[in-house]
Amino acid sequence: MTSPESGGERRTFTPDFLTELFRNPLDPGYADAAARKARGEGPAGALKRTLAGITALTLAALGFLLAIAYQQTVADAPEATKARDTLIEQVQKRRSETDGLQARADQLGDDVSQLREAELGGAAVARLRDLEAQTGLAPVRGSGARVTIGDGPTPINPVTGNRSTEARVRDSDLQLAANALWAAGAEAIAVNGQRLTATSTIRQAGEAILVDFQPVTTPYTLEAIGPGDLAEAFHDGYAGKFFRELVSRYGMSFEAKSAKGMTLDAATELKLRVTVVATPPPASGSPSPGSGSSEPTSSPSKGGR
């Protein structure tokens, strides 16, 4: 395309490509073509018309390109948002489904207990109720202790940019508190409203703590129904010492107070499907002599580790 004889003095190739680019952005081919035309060497007649047609076609292709590029960009942009919206929608739908199913389960549970009351005699029902209250299957009401544990400050390290997590409450802390409450004679415990049963789990999943797979967040409130001196027993026991140490060392918050008139909801589900009597029951036939039985069963709160 470049004719070496045409304008040889103008077509000096500068070694610096960028300088040339800035100085003369127009394709040099146009100047060459113009020079050819000036010398009468350019296309003429039918060829010229054909070339004009090809130019029109090229421009049409260009418009086409612009149109599809625009459409593509418009279609691409919300792709990420769309995916997120769909996920959020799914989560909300599933959540409402879960709520509906839970409501139905509660209603069916009520039906079952009503039928049971109607079928069984008063003494059997009373015994069943006691057992349910002890195992966490029925809501209970009473006085006891309210223990509140909260995260300490979690400053961001200015060098690494990582958040310090050592002042966070860990699952083991909650396990220890729950076990100490059982040991101090608690008959029913709920963590942030989640009633603990014999098969409850308190586990860490990343930064969240899950109680029976339901996330709980700081501050963690352990409500326990038990003897009147439960709060003092907890506060003066090994757990109280442990948490006071945490307070002084990491700035976590800790409080154990007596509370009255607490209502603990029933546990959502008892995952215990099959039970086998480990030892022959005593002659009296009473399988659970009071609150003492629930004390050792709290150890499964470490379950799943």
Partner: protein, 110 residues
């Protein structure tokens, strides 16, 4: 005049047909557009300079788009696709800018 009509026809065609771009070609679309804009700005400037040439325009348009896509493809294969895309965009951007500045001088005498 014909050029503008052809351009509009192309846009209308693109909207009406609404073709789906194959996923393999999608990364090259933006680069192809930039290359095409470079060819167009060069063509318009040449027109205003009075040295427009059909053959030169068509060849520069096709060559620009193909070469730009090729460079990006090569970069993708070598693992430097992003950097090469940036290089293509910088070079073509400079040319577009210079040509548009020349067009501006033609149109506004400033």
């Amino acid at each position: 005049m014909i050029a503008v009509l052809a351009l509009v026809a192309g846009v209308v065609l693109g909207i009406v047909l609404h073709p789906t771009v194959p996923p393999a070609l999608q990364p090259y679309l933006p680069i192809a557009v930039v290359a095409a804009l470079d060819a167009v700005s060069g063509g318009v400037r040449a027109k205003l300079d009075g040295i427009f040439d059909d053959k030169q325009f068509v060849v520069s348009f096709i060559a620009n788009v193909v070469v730009a896509a090729l460079i990006v493809y090569l970069g993708d294969q070598l693992g430097v696709g992003g950097q090469l895309s940036t290089g293509v965009v910088v070079v073509l951007g400079v040319r577009i800018f210079g040509n548009v500045a020349a067009i501006r001088r033609h149109l506004f005498r400033a």
